[in-house]
Symmetry: C3
Subunit: 208 residues, 3 copies
């Protein structure tokens, strides 16, 4: 389906497009998670910076929603959309910061399933950016819901397989607990990306 109410308030789209780009940038930065090239503190700082930038953007969006009497979609939905994009960035920042705080990669190399979780998150970031461009242009969005659902399923499977490894006796208990906290944040980031897609779908259903 297509969202036809496009031209009324172009600046409001701009917020979502920028928030989607922040989420994608945060996911992209996590490609360095556990790498020897970027220190964990540097990576955490970079993610904290993106998170602050997105917090300000979300705040600005709320102020704008507050001041704008005609919004292209239901005001509650626009709130929800801003808030869910913000959740994505929060979980990605948490993954980087917990990695810095707990230092699991001082003891072990990153498990492959954890790196694969990050790869899926990068795909979800790129997909979300494209989807918001499509939304602003009034293009069909069905592929977005299908693909984000499929990527979230992939992330979920990787998370489960990571836990099989973590519970398999390969690591010390405290390392298991540290890696699980980080993997939980990555899993929640993937869920949050899918909730963004679901929110866009719910908006589209109403507007169609």
């Amino acid at each position: 389906m297509r969202l036809r109410l496009r031209p009324r308030e172009p600046e409001l789209y701009e917020f979502f497009t920028r928030a989607a780009r922040n989420a994608a940038e945060a996911a992209e930065a996590l490609a360095e998670l556990g790498s020897a090239d970027t220190g964990s503190e540097e990576l955490s700082n970079r993610l904290v910076e993106i998170e602050h930038r997105n917090d300000e953007l979300t705040h600005e969006l709320y102020n704008r929603l507050n001041a704008t009497f005609v919004t292209p979609f239901d005001r509650d939905d626009m709130y929800r959309l801003g808030s869910r994009l913000d959740d994505v960035v929060d979980h990605l920042e948490a993954a980087a910061t917990l990695t810095h705080l707990y230092q699991p990669f001082a003891d072990v190399t990153p498990p492959p399933e954890l790196l694969d979780q990050v790869s899926v998150l990068r795909k979800l970031g790129a997909l979300t950016v494209t989807a918001f461009d499509d939304l602003a242009a009034g293009r069909d969005l069905r592929h977005y819901w299908v693909e984000s659902n499929s990527l979230e399923n992939e992330a979920d499977k990787l998370y489960r397989m990571l836990l099989v490894r973590l519970f398999g006796g390969e690591y010390e208990t405290l390392t298991v607990l540290k890696l699980k906290e980080i993997a939980d944040e990555l899993e929640e980031a993937a869920d949050a990306f899918e909730l963004v897609a679901n929110t866009v779908e719910a908006i589209a259903v109403k507007e169609s």
Copy 2:
């Protein structure tokens, strides 16, 4: 109170009735959790099958909501109701699949509190099926909210007592972690059942 808007769109009720039956069937299947009779892979496969079936049903519901201009209740609420019934099935499937993946019952017998969690979930499933039949028939639903709240409290107490056992030193640490992940999914399934009841209650409040 009674929902009086009953006759407008009987097919839409049918979706919820079917989703409730899927949730009840999933809970019923978990009676085999940790039993020697059903292999853990077979149980996981059965739950995955119910989950896929319910995913398709939920997708169909969303399409129908999208295409139907007059819905018996608020469209957002019907979305929410479908989504929450789907959450129940997702958590029940996760409990079965994690049991298969982590294989805790290769090492220990299921703790009694975990089996009791499943019993409460089966009661919640049966209650939910009855409630959606009552909803479609326009019968009073107050008992549903009271009973689902009481069963959720029971599930919560069992979960807490299971954790007392898990943290009591009886099991190896990795077994504790595995059983806790499975128990978490069962606890979230009970919460999700109660959220279904709360959503029905919120709809009833608006319609009354």
Copy 3:
């Protein structure tokens, strides 16, 4: 901004004011968490009593919303607000009850970060009470959102630093798991306090 629709239904404000006071009282009581002066059973009983009292209040609110045709704000929002205040109390009760059930402080003294989490929750409780008085009086609420956001950030940092300590090798594994469960509830209580503030903000945006 200011909420101007104040005078229509003064009794409905009374529910929120009372729920806010219950939340503050629950947070205040947790000052005794891990202290030798109050037994853990006594503290758990006190929190269970507050939680039951708030459950009844929330139930009464729902009945009132159900029976009242003109509400000062959107009915869904009032539901949500009652439900989120109830979440605060639920998590605070859980922290006290899990402390009683798991008895971590039979083996170790409470980590300083856990006690600091409780201090922040007491500030959030006091802030929330003031905010609902301001809401009923039609006073500006911007400071409430800013301060609750800042306190929630502080709670979040304390939680992360607590996990650094818990994963640092200072405690036995089962003690780590017990303390983490309790800290999780405190962290969720802080999140729930912030969600109350966000809900009030969303209502204010609509009404302004």
